[in-house]
């Protein structure tokens, strides 16, 4: 949990993959509704950069995604989490984990409010 998705940066997101995450979801406030004005917009740009990097290095861009939710949308959060986990299961273990001997981790989740 972070004070704001604006705190997360590319190096940390990539670190998660280095540490064996098969997927990373970043969950922030609704756009235009950031508690810290613009943190989620910054986060979106950083996630996009990581998306592009993952694409280029063949880890797969779809392993990272940013979601936007309001605090009252618990069921939506669950739906998003399930959707994302489903997607990651479909993609299977990240090439990193395959290279390390195929141990499969559940999708990592990072949450912020």
């Amino acid at each position: 949990m972070l004070p704001c998705t604006g705190r997360i940066d590319e190096s940390l997101l990539l670190k998660a993959f280095e540490n064996g995450a098969d997927g990373v979801m970043v969950v922030g406030c609704l756009e235009g509704d950031c508690h810290y004005v613009s943190g989620n917009i910054r986060a979106r740009a950083r996630v996009k950069r990581v998306y592009e990097i993952l694409d280029k290095i063949k880890i797969g861009p779809d392993r990272i995604r940013m979601f936007n939710l309001s605090a009252g949308e618990g069921s939506k959060f669950a739906a998003y989490a399930n959707e994302f986990v489903g997607k990651i299961r479909e993609l299977g273990p990240s090439p990193i984990n395959l290279a390390r001997g195929g141990q499969v981790h559940a999708a990592s989740q990072k949450e912020t409010t």
Binding site: D9, E10, S11, L14, K15, F17, E18, I53, L54, K56, I57, K58, I59, S94, P95, I96, A99, R100
Partner: protein, 221 residues
């Protein structure tokens, strides 16, 4: 400051193909300010490379180091204790820094991680633009403080050419006509008479065309 852009990751990976153990060297100078070569980029690139290599089935060890500047010998010297333990150095400083590293560590390959750009300014966060080509013979006092060499796509001294349309250069929609800017500025300065003078041919010998340049300040040696 000196600006730059990250090299495409595929290109870096290709460069690193022969190596399994490298130093990734950042620089706290210009490249930090223009956000291609600072500590954060060192971390991002190191992670990226490790991931890419591990995914490809061949791990790479990366030692992450950021030097104060790669363009001063004392700082560059700080890398020495590490260099011999590594097969190569990937530098994300400007071309000057990269070369300086290469000169100092003669038997270790030094590779560029960024494409060095230009001498520029920050237009706004995330946008940089060229302002100077370092030609060695400044005429800004005649051109309203706007450099015709840098800002005109053809480096004209008597622009604008016929390709100037509504302040935009023929080269592209995003390129402002440098001469339009000069004229606007001269007008604002009430110095339009400067325009009417035929300027002598520029001596390019003070620029790159004079060979690698050197500044010697005997008072400081």
């Amino acid at each position: 400051m000196i600006t730059g852009t990250p090299k495409p990751i595929e290109e870096i990976l290709e460069m690193l193909e022969p190596y399994d153990n490298i130093i990734l060297a950042g620089c706290h100078g210009c490249v930090t300010v223009c956000r291609v070569g600072g500590e954060k980029e060192v971390q991002v690139l190191a992670s990226t490379l490790r991931l890419a290599r591990e995914a490809a089935g061949r791990k790479i060890a990366i030692t992450e180091i950021s030097l104060e500047r790669q363009c001063d010998p004392e700082y560059v010297e700080k890398l020495r204790p590490y260099v011999s333990d590594h097969q190569a150095v990937l530098s994300i400083a400007c071309g000057a820094g990269i070369q300086f590293l290469a000169e100092k560590y003669a038997i270790t390959p030094v590779l560029p991680g960024i494409n060095t750009g230009f001498l520029g300014v920050t237009e706004r966060q995330g946008e940089w633009a060229e302002r100077c080509q370092g030609c060695g013979d400044c005429v800004l006092h005649l051109t309203g403080g706007i450099c015709p060499v840098t800002r005109c796509a053809k480096s004209l001294f008597h622009g604008p050419c016929g390709g100037s349309s509504q302040g935009i250069c023929e080269v592209g929609k995003d390129v402002k006509c440098g001469w339009q800017l000069i004229i606007d500025r001269l007008k604002a300065l009430n110095q339009l008479e400067n325009y009417g003078k035929l300027k002598p041919y520029k001596g390019w010998h003070t620029s790159r065309d004079g060979g690698p340049r050197r500044i010697l300040r005997e008072d400081m040696i």
